[in-house]
Symmetry: none
Subunit: 226 residues, 2 copies
DNA sequence: AATTGCCTGTCAGTTGCTTGTCAGGGATAA
DNA sequence: TTATCCCTGACAAGCAACTGACAGGCAATT
């Protein structure tokens, strides 16, 4: 995931930057409002984390400007104050969520991911996912590779659904544990590895082109088309 | 079932989203009225859950717009106030039901399902259902597999009718209890299992291709054609 | 009233699958 | 080489589903 962080305080920026990178997210930092607006225009971000107190302009303005220009990238506001009016005003000018400093990094992460997940829902979501000749029908709870039906257990299906939701993207073990098992911290287990192996045995049967890819040191992904 | 959720408050949206997905419903979220109208036009939703307080326009307008355009998808309104006038006005502009915040998720689910069930009754419905060589005549209350007539009890028939109403779709025990027994919550019984077994004994007699399928962890379904 | 037959729902024993842990061996990067 | 990181076969515990047996209830019949 690609995050634009608009924050002028180096300490805070650095803290968030590191944390997000550790989760395999791409981060770009802008240290002023105008820089933030310019970068946002490139349209390559999945989410914008926006501090309200900026040197050149107020966060509200950044927010407003982007929305006026038709940019619907989800925005998470960071406010140092916890005055209700700020939050309300922020939401009015087009922010999607807010977080009050000081905040817990895990909460920031959770909100960011929730925002992105939600924004992806905007695209009316087909109940059929497809990667190469691998097809997952969420409604019928059915998986096929080419014409061959594949029987998966509940956990296997959940993992595959997660991977297929963003083909080509790398999912860390932590992330998978998070989404499929609901664990918020790493319980020092290798279940994910085990389940990936089981999925491989069912999906990447010998003779087929392997789809389930290991990215050493980072996690797993499904090969994107091509 | 496919639900369009028009709700701008992220927390509420997320709450409902998760809950419905847990019930295997497809959910698409719109966070503004205009977005909701656009998505509704795709016509792929069974029901619309509509918050009244939206950033760009009032829920009434959304409702009115859709009805004027001839869209009859059932609409469930969510209102933060419990003023009677709001409800009345909502129903006047074409909503089918309302629910006052804060609400119980189970109640929301029940209403949604009730709405959909009702709207499906309007769709002209054949009195003969067929899956493979299995035929159910609702008028004559007769069931045949190929040329062999099958005698079913009332409950067996009700379950079979439910399953045949959407071949290939998975019905959870809870859903079956709901539709056939009218239970609104799980009374910790295994009647459904028992009746499925009885149905199997009558329908999937040895030598025939089994039609009644168990999806472990989810429920039961009739094999779709093919 | 009593009898009979069927429908219905509960229960408990069994079976088979799913799940998560672990340890040993392979693969890969430095 | 060495240190990680990853893969995978084996296994035990726990569950979910299946099914035969049974008891109560209802309705038709005697």
């Amino acid at each position: 995931m690609n995050v634009l962080l608009v924050e002028d305080e180096p300490r805070v920026a650095d803290f968030i930057d590191r944390g997000l990178r550790a989760e395999n997210h791409g981060v770009t930092v802008a240290s002023s409002g105008s820089e933030g607006v310019d970068l946002a225009k490139t349209g390559e971000f999945d989410v914008i984390v926006l501090d309200l107190m900026l040197p050149d302009m107020h966060g509200y303005e950044v927010c407003q400007k982007l929305r006026q220009e038709g940019d619907h990238t989800p925005i998470l506001m960071l406010t140092a104050m916890d005055a209700l009016e700020d939050k309300i005003k922020g939401l009015k000018v087009g922010a999607d969520d807010y977080l009050t400093k000081p905040f817990d990094f895990d909460e920031l992460l959770a909100r960011i991911e929730a925002l992105v997940r939600r924004s992806h829902h905007f695209a009316p979501q087909s109940h059929v996912l497809q990667v190469g000749d691998l097809v997952l029908d969420r409604e019928l709870l059915e998986v096929r590779r080419g014409d061959d039906p594949i029987k998966l257990t509940a956990k296997e299906l959940a993992i595959l659904e997660l991977l297929m939701s963003a083909p080509g993207r790398v999912f860390s073990r932590t992330r998978i544990l998070n989404q499929v098992w609901g664990y918020s911290e790493d319980p020092l287990t290798n279940v994910v590895d085990v389940y990936i192996a089981r999925l491989r045995r069912k999906i990447d049967t010998p003779g087929r082109e392997p789809l389930l890819d290991t990215v050493r040191g980072h996690g797993y992904r499904l090969k994107a088309a091509g």
